[in-house]
Symmetry: C2
């Protein structure tokens, strides 16, 4: 059976009900334990399939690939093998994990319990771009900053607005982030002040990882763009709103963002997401021809943000969906390269905050608290307008269809107090 998506597939590895990591998923990550790694693994249930160990059993011998790519601290070398190889390896891993596979007899050798592993950043991020592709988010922010009549900038529906972000400070889930210090201009003040940010926020985003290089001067069309995408992660674009507000004119966000961005550790491949394609929003006015998109290029990915105060239970404070985005990934990549900008394996392209139409789907506290004017109620009786020290932010993403769940796991990070 070549269909790695088939709902009837079952694994010899136990997959608990509701697990994100079904045999239809097979996401890639980098893990290490006290004894091995860092190396490449595939998530299955609560276990990690160690691809280095699978390779030593000669299970990939006939695929004609350099198995050293599985014994690396990032996925970049595996990704560089190219899309046909991603497909062959996915199919092989699917076969090896199916009920009846002889690999079950080697389970002690090839499986590592997730609870015994530490997940690392899955790719070396070469370049990072953040788009601004949710109409609802851009409108909400616009209304707050410029009023209802000028909410969306004139360019917004003509091109996927984006800006370059900081690659060095992208970290994996579980990495705590210190509240940043910086310069802000308090309301009605005449001179700026220095201190820890008082308006710390998250942004619910997803990011795609590029799987091929282009040469400077080359372009990637909307039709070709998906061939350049390896997979996706959930992305928390931490934001210090007060720092951002003071610094961002005229050249855009900088220190209000670049102190840290957090990603989920498992890269869900575009092949795993294939069954979850849906149509995106209609685009009106019509976009220029280099941005015109045919077919279903949005994906139905449920998204959730939970906030967990120190020592308390979490509260889900936002429920959104990746399919709400106005601009799709193919349009984003086509736009990014239309001027000849070259792309590289390991590049990360984030969506921008993903907000829906209803207030409970807003993807940032700036929107949920409407710039601090409305308290966000938590299950422990406390409330928030922006994040407090030691709050943990958890973002989750998953697809479900025909009884099959394909999930991203979570990106979970605690906001530590500012460093002294």
């Amino acid at each position: 059976m070549n269909n790695t998506h088939h709902p009837d597939l079952k694994s010899w590895v136990e997959v608990p009900a509701g697990s994100d990591f079904t045999i239809q998923n097979l996401p890639y990550g980098i893990f290490k334990t006290d004894y091995v790694g860092p190396r490449v693994g595939v998530a299955i249930g609560d276990q990690i399939l160690d691809l280095s160990q699978v390779a030593t059993l000669r299970s990939f011998d006939d695929l004609d690939i350099d198995i050293k790519v599985f014994d690396k601290a990032t996925l970049n070398d595996f990704i560089a093998l190219g899309k046909p190889v991603w497909s062959k390896v996915r199919e092989r891993v699917s076969e090896l994990l199916r009920e009846g596979s002889a690999l079950a007899y080697e389970s002690e050798k090839v499986l590592v319990p997730m609870e015994k592993a530490t997940m690392l950043l899955p790719v070396e991020v070469k370049n990072y771009t953040d788009f601004y592709s949710s109409e609802e988010h851009a409108t909400n922010v616009g209304v707050m900053f410029r009023g209802k009549d000028n909410a969306l900038m004139p360019n917004w529906k003509h091109l996927p607005v984006g800006y370059h972000g900081r690659a060095s400070s992208i970290v994996v889930s579980g990495t705590d982030i210190h509240r940043p210090k910086g310069q802000t201009m308090p309301p009605n003040a005449e001179t700026p002040v220095f201190g820890p940010s008082k308006r710390m926020d998250f942004e619910l985003e997803m990011a795609f990882i590029v799987g091929d290089n282009t040469a400077l001067g080359d372009t990637v069309s909307v039709a070709e763009a998906e061939d350049y995408i390896f997979g996706m992660v959930v992305f928390n674009d931490w934001s210090a709103r007060d720092i951002q507000k003071w610094e961002y004119v005229p050249l855009g966000p900088f220190l209000g963002k670049n102190f840290g961005s957090s990603v989920s550790p498992w890269i869900v491949t575009m092949e795993a997401l294939e069954p979850f394609r849906v149509a995106g929003p209609e685009q009106e006015p019509k976009v220029l021809s280099y941005l015109q998109s045919e077919g279903d290029k949005a994906f139905d990915i449920n998204l959730q943000v939970a906030l967990e105060p120190e020592g308390k239970e979490e509260t889900v404070i936002s429920t959104s969906n990746f399919k709400y985005l106005y601009w799709n990934m193919a349009q984003q990549l086509a736009h990014h390269t239309i001027n000849g900008c070259n792309i590289e394996i390991g590049d990360m392209y984030a969506s921008g905050t993903i907000s829906g139409k209803s207030p409970d789907s807003y993807g940032s506290m700036l929107e949920l608290s409407w710039s601090g004017k409305q308290e966000i109620q938590l299950n422990d009786g406390s409330s928030r307008t922006f994040l407090e020290d030691n709050d943990t932010v958890i973002m989750r993403g998953w697809c479900e269809k025909d009884g099959v769940r394909v999930g991203f796991g979570e990106v979970r990070s605690k906001l530590l107090p500012a460093k002294q």
Copy 2:
């Protein structure tokens, strides 16, 4: 003699009068020839000293360094050895190149004529940030875009405004750049159009290269910052003004910039620049304490832009100086890290366009032609407001004091027509 700057030092290698590459300079670059490389070299006169070959002569044996760093395609590994090693190697190379050194007997083995070598990008650029640190440039642009009364944004004198740029498209001198295509909004039009940029420009900048890593959450003070800087290059930040103007609100420059930035191939070290320190402009109003700077942290580096139409001689169209910048490099780096943003070896931080007070010192055609309203006259009788296809832009930088010249060579690149 430990003073590698001494004006009396003479090399056994012939250094033509007016050469940028004197024995007091000793900049590092990556070269290759038809037979060797890529590897690390030091420029001296019209020659390249091949450090791999010098190492095989055991000239570095007592320095306790891994000589494999000289046999690499980027300088990152050499830079990673740390500031004390940069210093030791500089001193040793200075000794080896002085009159009387026995290395003269090995000249055929260790020297490569520049005319037989191709220079490559000297570092793998990990992250790239562009500042906006010239008061004259920011004011000129502000006057053109917003009028005299609101020329400088309220934040400009309180912090070194900057934004993240694209690392992947930074290329070395000699790499031609295609005129980018993109979306623009013509004056008085109601919908945007697509096509090659009609307002192609350069920006005269310099960039510094970071020589050490920090951990996420750490800061670098103004006092420490220079210890984190390896050296500098001349930097052409190509800009498509019409693309930039339409896209840049509210998140900053993107496709108007990221199709290419060009750098000079030789990294002049901070140690070589030491004799050329000068005071920077007085900063009024006083900056916040984390940005306060003591001592001479500006550098007297003469800068020049020449434009060479296809097949014609060049015309110098701008003469500026790095010392004009309002914000110094130490302040830029301290600001960049004050929120805990981590820096990496190979990071490149550009200054922003370096304009002086007089119109002949403006560092971009946008300013030189005052947004296209004044023709820039060239020696061949033609004139420009923005760049034409096949124009070559040449930028040069050099210091001179006490009869000693320490120069950067040039960054020279041709603007090719847009790709079909």
